[in-house]
Each structure stands twice: as structure tokens, then as C-alpha cells.
């Protein structure tokens, strides 16, 4: 695995597009966190805070930031798509195998990126949320409620698994990006709404919606309530199942078909 990670490092070490996108995706998190906290900490908002509590104080800060960050995960998916489809564009996925990788090594290499991106994001999101909580909150640091950040992390992994799966199935960057964006901003939510309306809570079990169900906006979540929902563990289990299924399909595709 060390050799695979070293090889992947050689591939991106001087790849400007990669670093630019990663930096952009990572900067957006604290930028949005601070901007959001700044905007919503005005005088008018203080009245609302008195009713529902300050969403930027510990422990609510974790849910607030996790919920906010879940809207900004798209860029990480695009980053992973570019890393994977580049291999198909340059046909280096073939060359890596010709030169001596097993086909499964290629999957491990891309799973490494999936995990590296999600762990880095969790780290940046945690630091950012902590700083916002300390600066804009009224209570001292606490890890109570940190599970929401882990739900966000899980949802990010589901999204990256979808990006990886689309990339190995479609192989071309342009089409993969279009399909990924369409699924993210439209298809998942649309299907979920339709299913929720006509079938019931099961509509909340779609890949990305599962995460959204357990990451409500702090204020609205409290106001709306959660009658039409399963217990949290159901959504968590379903997200793990999606990740497992996605990775299984990626392995199947890479191991069985022509490269």
C-alpha cells in the first residue's frame, strides 16, 4: 500500500489543477462557516437565538457546521472524478497494470484518494467549526454533538463513492462530471421528494438524502420536527451499505472488464 500511495503522490505532486481544486474546496469550508456565522450573528438574529439557542455555540455548532458543509461537498467529488478519469483519458490505467500493478491496486489507489480527501475535509471542517464556535459562540469548547460531523463525514464518503463509481463506469471526465452534478443537485433530491410524498419515509433513504435526513438545519429542524423519519441508526446503516455497494461495483467493473 505504501508503494501505491507513493506512486499516487508522484502523479499529483506537481499537478496544478489538483492542488488548485483541493485548495479551493478546502478554503470554501472555513470561508462559508465564518461568513455564515458573521451574517447570522447580527442583532435581529439574536432574538431568534433567544428562542432556539445560539447555533454557533457548542454543542450546536457541530450540527450547524456539518449541515452547512454538506452543501459544499460537490467540489470534492469533482476533484476525485478528475483524478480517476485522467487515468482513462491518458490510458495510464492500462499502463499502470502493464507495468506491474494488479487491477485491484488501481482500485486501492483511488480508494486512497477517496479516504484522503474525506479525512482531510473532516479535519479542516473540525478546525473551522471549532474556531467559529470559539469566536461566535457563547459556551466553552465541547465535543458533545460531534457525531453530526461524523454523519457529514459519512455523507461525504457516500458522495465520493458515487463520484468514483460514475468515473469508472463512464470513463470520460466531461460526461462523468455532468452526471455527478445532475445526481447531486437534482436527481437524488427529486426522487427523494417524490418517494416521500407518495410512498413515505423510505424516500429519505436515497444515498445523499440519508445524510441530509440526519443533518437538518438546526433552527428549521427543531421547528419542523421529525415525524416522517426513521431512527438515526437506520440512515447511518444505509449510508454504510451504499458505500459498500459502491466500492463492490467499482471492484467488479475494474477486475472483470477490459481496461
Amino acid at each position: 500500500m505504501k508503494q501505491i500511495i507513493y506512486t499516487e503522490w508522484l502523479k499529483v505532486k506537481t499537478y496544478r489543477t489538483f492542488w488548485a481544486m483541493l485548495l479551493l474546496a478546502l478554503i470554501i469550508i472555513p470561508a462559508a462557516n465564518f461568513l455564515g456565522a458573521d451574517k447570522l450573528s447580527g442583532q435581529q438574529f439574536k432574538q431568534v437565538s433567544k428562542m432556539f439557542g445560539n447555533p454557533f455555540s457548542f454543542p450546536d455548532i457541530w450540527l450547524t457546521m456539518a449541515s452547512m458543509n454538506s452543501y459544499m461537498s460537490l467540489l470534492f467529488g469533482l476533484l476525485l472524478i478528475i483524478l480517476v478519469t485522467n487515468e482513462y483519458t491518458y490510458r495510464t490505467n492500462r499502463q499502470n497494470v502493464i507495468d506491474g500493478w494488479e487491477r485491484r491496486d488501481f482500485v486501492y489507489a483511488k480508494l486512497f484518494w477517496l479516504l484522503a480527501i474525506s479525512v482531510t475535509t473532516l479535519l479542516v471542517a473540525t478546525i473551522s467549526a471549532t474556531l467559529v464556535g470559539v469566536i461566535y459562540g457563547e459556551k466553552s469548547f465541547s465535543l458533545e454533538g460531534y457525531q453530526y460531523m461524523l454523519y457529514y463525514f459519512l455523507q461525504l464518503n457516500v458522495m465520493l463513492t458515487i463520484a468514483l463509481l460514475i468515473s469508472v463506469l463512464v470513463k470520460r471526465a466531461g460526461l462523468a462530471i455532468v452526471l455527478f452534478i445532475a445526481y447531486n443537485i437534482m436527481v437524488d433530491q427529486l426522487l427523494s421528494s417524490v418517494l416521500k410524498k407518495y410512498v413515505g419515509a423510505i424516500g429519505g433513504l436515497l444515498p445523499l438524502q440519508s445524510g441530509d435526513e440526519i443533518l437538518p438545519w438546526p433552527m428549521f429542524g427543531k421547528m419542523i420536527g421529525s415525524d416522517n423519519q426513521y431512527d438515526t441508526y437506520v440512515y447511518v446503516t444505509v449510508m454504510f451499505a451504499y458505500i459498500t455497494l459502491g466500492i463492490y461495483l467499482v471492484f467488479r467493473k475494474i477486475l472483470k472488464s477490459d481496461l
Partner: protein
Amino acid sequence: MPILSLKNVSKKYGPVQALSDISFDVPAGSVFGVLGPNGSGKTTLLGIVTDVLKADTGSFTLFDKAPTGRERRQIGTLLETPNFYHYLSGYKNLEIAAAIKHRDKEDIGRVLDICGLTQRQHSPFKTYSLGMKQRLALASVLLGDPDVLILDEPTNGLDPSGIAEVRSLVRKLADSGKTIILASHLLDEVEKVCTHVAIIRSGKLLLSGAVNEVISRNDFVELSAADNNALKAALLQYPGCTNAEVSGEIVKAFFAVPPDAAAINSYCAQRGIWLNHLQRRKKSLETAFLEITNHATS
């Protein structure tokens, strides 16, 4: 121990039978030509051997073992087109190849030098000409000085001097005892170096084995005299001559056994025919190849 042993390998692309029931062995130390016209299945066959394509049926071994990445790392392979990261320099691309092949990156300078890319090693791959890309692919093949090489159309995209250099490189590698599997539709490319051949046409193996055993390339003699028609008539009566034909300014005479030029010269002189040209020739691989493939068609 065969370096590569194929057993009943078949592969279909939809309705097209790309390979059917291919079996042959590549002996260690041989220069093995995989010959066939464009689209005959050469690259598909080598794609299966390098695990980028999956055979529908059949199996193969590398170094007498079930093929894995470990075996592929011992082989320098250039398959079809040079595949490199466009945004990286030639040197950095070779660093990646060396990491995957578990080869020392200290060797990169040597292979870049052999392939004439030292000057441009730090330029991005995307700025390379077609010939330079092919040279970089050859440099990658030579990384770590592997004992076995698979070269699929290695002179693609090269200019005449590049083609000559690659041919001389292949000859040098062959002379140093390396096993080379060379796929090409350019027969003069393999004619001088191949010890063994497999000829494929439309996915079928027409023949395989040592060149001298499987391809009949009987010698013939080119002659000319003042009266070529008289020369032809005389040659047809020469013992062992199977055919003689006038072709332009010369007469080509074919024999059942290797001909003795001195005896032919003496025979003609005795008949009052004074030769002004006499040369023993070997049927070109191209002619033999066309005969074999045309025979298969008919």
C-alpha cells in the same frame, strides 16, 4: 522454460471473433515475431498477456507461473500507444513507471540517454512530438534492463532515422540474449531479427515456431545474360531447377534444394551462355508471409 505459454486463448468483441483458440510458446532467448496484418488480433493478444484485456476462454503463463503483477514487472512492455501523464515531464513519468515496476530511479538517466531524450527530459509530455512520445515509451520499456521485452509496433510514429535506431536497438537487445516479443505488420522490421514467429490472420493462428522450420524461404538465384530467354531455357534443364522466369532485365531461377552458384555458372558457360549477373537470394519474409496468408484465405 517458455517465457510465455498460451493455451487455447479466445476473445470476442461483440459479434467479432478477435482471437480464436490461440496456442503457442515463446522460448527463452528467442526473438519472437507476432506477425499479421492490421486488425489481425496482435494487440488483442498482447493486451491479454499484459492483463489489460480479459480472454473469454483459455489461459496463459508467464515464466511458467500464473501471471500476476510480479511477472509483468519483469517485462518491459510497449503496447499500442505511449500512455503517459500529459501534464508531467518525461522524467517524472518515468519516475512513476519505475515506482510501479519496483526499479531504481537511478536508471532513468541511462534509458533517457539511450532513447535520445536527455535534453527534453524535463519538458511536459504534452509538448513532445509523436516520435518523442514513442521514444519515451521505449525508455520506459528499458527501465531496469528487463530480460524480457514486449514491443507492439515499436517504430510507430518515428521518422526514418528513428526507425533505423530502434531496429538497431532491437538487434542489440536480441544479441545480448534478451527475449523479445515483437508484434508488427512491417515485415522487414522483424525479418532480420526474428528467430521465431507466430502468424495471425483474422484472429486465427496460421502457424508458429522457429522461422526456418515453419516458413519455407527457399533460396533462388537471380541471373542475367545477353539472351535471357536462352538463359531461362537452359536453366529449366538444370538438375533441381523447379522454375525459371524472366523478370525485367533478370531471370529468376528456383530450386528444390539450395543452389550452388559456381556450378550454375559453370553449367551456363558450358552451354555458351556468359553470365553478366549472378546472385543467390532468399525469398523475403514478406513474400513468404503473403503466400501463407493468401493460402489461408483461399
